[in-house]
């Protein structure tokens, strides 16, 4: 029986890890479909950003209550994973609580700490569920979350609650079995939380307790493997991607819009033809701006996978606040959805086969793009360094430069800038009239 459990465990973990690695590889390939962008300068600052923003969750604390609850869940998740290490080693070797003899009396303190964290995770997730489904915090119930995104969020929270409950049930049953001196159950001393609940199980026969303990153990670890494989399909993938995302964030001032050297050079060669390279092969025609996900930078695409749809960006967006269609969160969700679609297309056809769809128009509408004031509130708000504005800018460039898709008022403005050197229809000769007025006064 023991050997069967061991073999089963090794098979399940092997398959889980293989599937997870395969999916992560696919996501990595999807991200690399984006255009090149060098974001490796200043590694010192980058490590610091990763430590502060991803590990330290610095920006989360702009909203203290969700930040503290999130910290419980996050710390619980990371630290309780140490316990997973023991579970995995037990599973492979067929031992039970193999760290207990090594750590002595410290073992029960350690498990006690895990249990406290487990309770905090439980409480955090329960409150999060309430915020989404009962309190209906505005940014968590907006229309772009209808359907799968809402279910995804709830499923993750429920799954975490189940995992923590199983962990605590397993420990409680274990303690009762230890007290009874059941074979195979190493005596560890009582645990802080479950030690208080042994009374619940004391009336149960050994067999039932073993079933609860073993069932808890198995469901817990299988749940963890399921969770791991669910992650890459879920918004919850942020627990992994936010780390590289914080590392590779743009280190420029938020106000800076990325230059387009190809257009800079075109203007230069037009103004100073002698500077144009004569022998250079004609450059490969590249689309101006972005029409689809492949036209975006790889960092834009990683941003999409780092997004956990918390909506802090949208809650701060002046366009969204005043009822416009633009939602920076939706920009990120659309980018990921389209990229996933392109990825599935590649999986099926070996390479991308034109499907008649694009990120602009089919996912993100012109109306949304037109509503942006470039105020950078979304960039500032994101706890994991996502830059929705960067995508908006590139889609706008495509609309104007490739589709000549511009509101009439902007065409007038462009014409004025070009002809009168000001966005309004004033004569350039009038530019210093204020100064003449002052001189005459």
């Amino acid at each position: 029986m023991q050997l069967v459990q061991q073999i089963l465990f090794i098979i399940i973990s092997g398959i889980s890890i293989y599937l997870f690695a395969q999916k992560v590889g696919e996501i990595r390939r999807n991200i690399m479909l984006g255009r090149k962008e060098d974001l490796t300068d200043n590694p010192g600052q980058r490590w610091k950003n990763m430590a502060l923003l991803a590990l330290g969750q610095k920006k989360m604390f702009k909203r203290p209550i969700p930040a503290i609850l999130h910290l419980f869940v996050y710390a619980g998740f990371i630290i309780i994973n140490i316990e997973i290490l023991e579970i995995i080693l037990d599973g492979i070797t067929g031992q039970h609580r193999m760290f207990a003899p090594l750590l002595g009396s410290f073992y029960s303190v350690l498990i006690g700490c895990f249990e406290i964290l487990a309770v905090l995770v439980l409480a955090g997730c329960a409150i999060f569920l309430a915020r989404r489904n009962i309190v209906k915090t505005p940014r968590l119930v907006q229309s772009e979350l209808d359907g799968w995104p809402k279910n995804d969020a709830n499923l993750i929270l429920i799954l975490e609650i189940v995992l923590m409950t199983l962990f605590l049930a397993m420990n409680t049953a274990d303690l009762v079995l230890q007290e009874r001196g059941a074979e195979h159950y190493t005596v560890t001393g009582s645990f802080w939380i479950t030690g208080m609940f042994t009374g619940l199980f004391s009336g149960l026969p050994d067999g039932t307790l073993i079933a609860i303990e073993r069932g808890g153990w198995w469901l817990h670890i299988v749940g963890v493997f399921f969770f791991m494989n669910y992650l890459p399909y879920s918004k919850h993938f942020h627990i992994i991607v936010s780390f590289p995302n914080a590392y590779y964030m743009r280190l420029k001032k938020q106000g800076e819009m990325k230059n387009m050297p190809e257009i800079q050079n075109e203007v230069l060669y037009m103004m100073e033809p002698d500077k144009a390279p004569t022998d250079a092969a004609p450059a490969e025609p590249q689309r101006f701006g972005a029409k689809d996900v492949m036209d975006l930078s790889w960092k834009n695409l990683m941003d999409a996978y780092a997004c956990t749809e918390c909506g802090r960006c949208t809650a701060m967006c002046p366009a969204n606040i005043t009822g416009k269609k633009l939602s920076p969160r939706k920009i990120m969700m659309d980018t990921r959805d389209r990229l996933e679609e392109v990825g599935a297309n590649i999986n099926k056809n070996k390479e991308f086969v034109e499907d008649g769809k694009t990120l602009v128009h089919d996912y993100i509408t012109v109306e949304e793009l037109r509503a942006c004031t470039s105020c950078q509130a979304c960039v500032e708000a994101c706890p994991v360094s996502i830059d929705p504005l960067n995508i908006i800018y590139q889609l706008r460039r495509y609309l104007i430069m490739e589709e000549s898709n511009s509101p009439e008022e902007w065409n007038l403005m462009f014409g004025n800038v070009e002809n009168n050197m000001a966005p309004w229809k004033f004569s350039p000769d009038e530019r210093d009239r204020w100064a003449q007025e002052m001189s005459q006064a």
């Binding site: 702009k62 001032k253 938020q254 106000g255 800076e256 819009m257 230059n259 387009m260 257009i263 800079q264 075109e266 203007v267 101006f288 701006g289 002046p318 366009a319 606040i321 005043t322 009822g323 416009k324 269609k325 109306e367 037109r370 509503a371 004031t373 470039s374 105020c375 950078q376 509130a377 960039v379 500032e380 800018y393 706008r396 460039r397 495509y398 609309l399 104007i400 430069m401 509101p407 008022e409 902007w410 007038l412 403005m413 462009f414 800038v417 070009e418 050197m421 000001a422 966005p423 309004w424 004033f426 350039p428 000769d429 009038e430 530019r431 210093d432 204020w434 100064a435 002052m438 001189s439």
Partner: protein
């Protein structure tokens, strides 16, 4: 007073201390012209040797770039950089955060490298250096004033304190809006929105922001950007509060408080 152009300085073989980049709004918009004049008056009064480009100044290309028209932006930038580098300009002060941002962050990649300073920071330095001297009890002393962070000075370039320090020097009672500093709400003009109708929604962004400013109970909304000034003025008018509440640029407030 005479305001000299860069061409006049160059003709005399002289260099000003700083070039005052007026910007399109500051040059042509009637409301913004008052800000320009106020700032020029301060510079003149305290003896800062400054020049303007006059008719040689052109739009920086910012609204074109934000709208997506990179060609037009690059054309404008090319011409401006030719002019500025031709005169050997080292230092630029401007009363427009959009011009400030594009000079500071986006022209360097195109060969335009200057020390760029926003007029609120410049005023703060002039006050700290004792060059700008303010009246002991100016008209803003003790007045309830709220300050609107412009996006391109605030979030865009992390300048939150300099304008507030100028207000403190004026001895005002500064009341912050709920959304201020990094959380400041846009006036609605950025990203070339100034030049088009807003998209369909429940309300206008400038109405939303102006209401928030009015809720502070301040009599003056201090701004640092000609576009914000226009948007907020319209928002105040929408609430029919224009007789009680004024939107002023920080330069206008300083100009009115200069010691004799």
């Amino acid at each position: 007073m005479t305001i000299k152009s860069m061409a006049e300085y160059a003709a005399n073989g002289e260099m000003p201390e700083v070039l005052f980049w007026v910007g399109c709004a500051g040059s042509f918009d009637q409301r913004a012209q008052k800000i320009t004049k106020a700032f020029a008056q301060i510079l003149d009064k305290v003896g800062v040797k400054f020049a303007i480009l006059g008719k040689e100044e052109m739009c920086t290309g910012d609204p074109a770039r934000r709208a997506g028209n990179e060609f037009l932006f690059q054309m404008m930038a090319y011409n401006n950089i030719q002019t500025l580098n031709g005169y050997g300009i080292k230092k630029i002060v401007t009363a427009c955060p959009h011009c400030f941002n594009i000079f500071k962050n986006e022209y360097p990649a195109l060969g335009g490298n200057y020390e760029v300073i926003h007029h609120t920071t410049f005023l703060q330095q002039l006050i700290n250096d004792g060059r700008v001297r303010l009246k002991e009890s100016g008209e803003f002393k003790g007045k309830k004033i709220t300050y609107h962070d412009s996006c391109y000075l605030g979030r865009g370039n992390n300048i939150y304190e300099a304008p507030r320090e100028v207000l403190q020097a004026l001895d005002v009672e500064l009341v912050e809006m709920k959304r201020c500093r990094t959380n400041g709400l846009c006036c609605g003009a950025g990203g070339a929105q100034m030049f088009k109708e807003e998209e369909k929604g429940n309300t206008r962004i400038n109405f939303e922001r102006s209401e928030e400013a009015l809720e502070t109970g301040a009599n003056i909304i201090a701004a640092n950007c000609p576009f914000c000034t226009t948007m907020l003025t319209d928002g105040v008018k929408n609430k029919e509060k224009e007789d009680d509440v004024k939107v002023l640029d920080i330069a206008e407030m300083v100009a009115r408080s200069l010691a004799d």
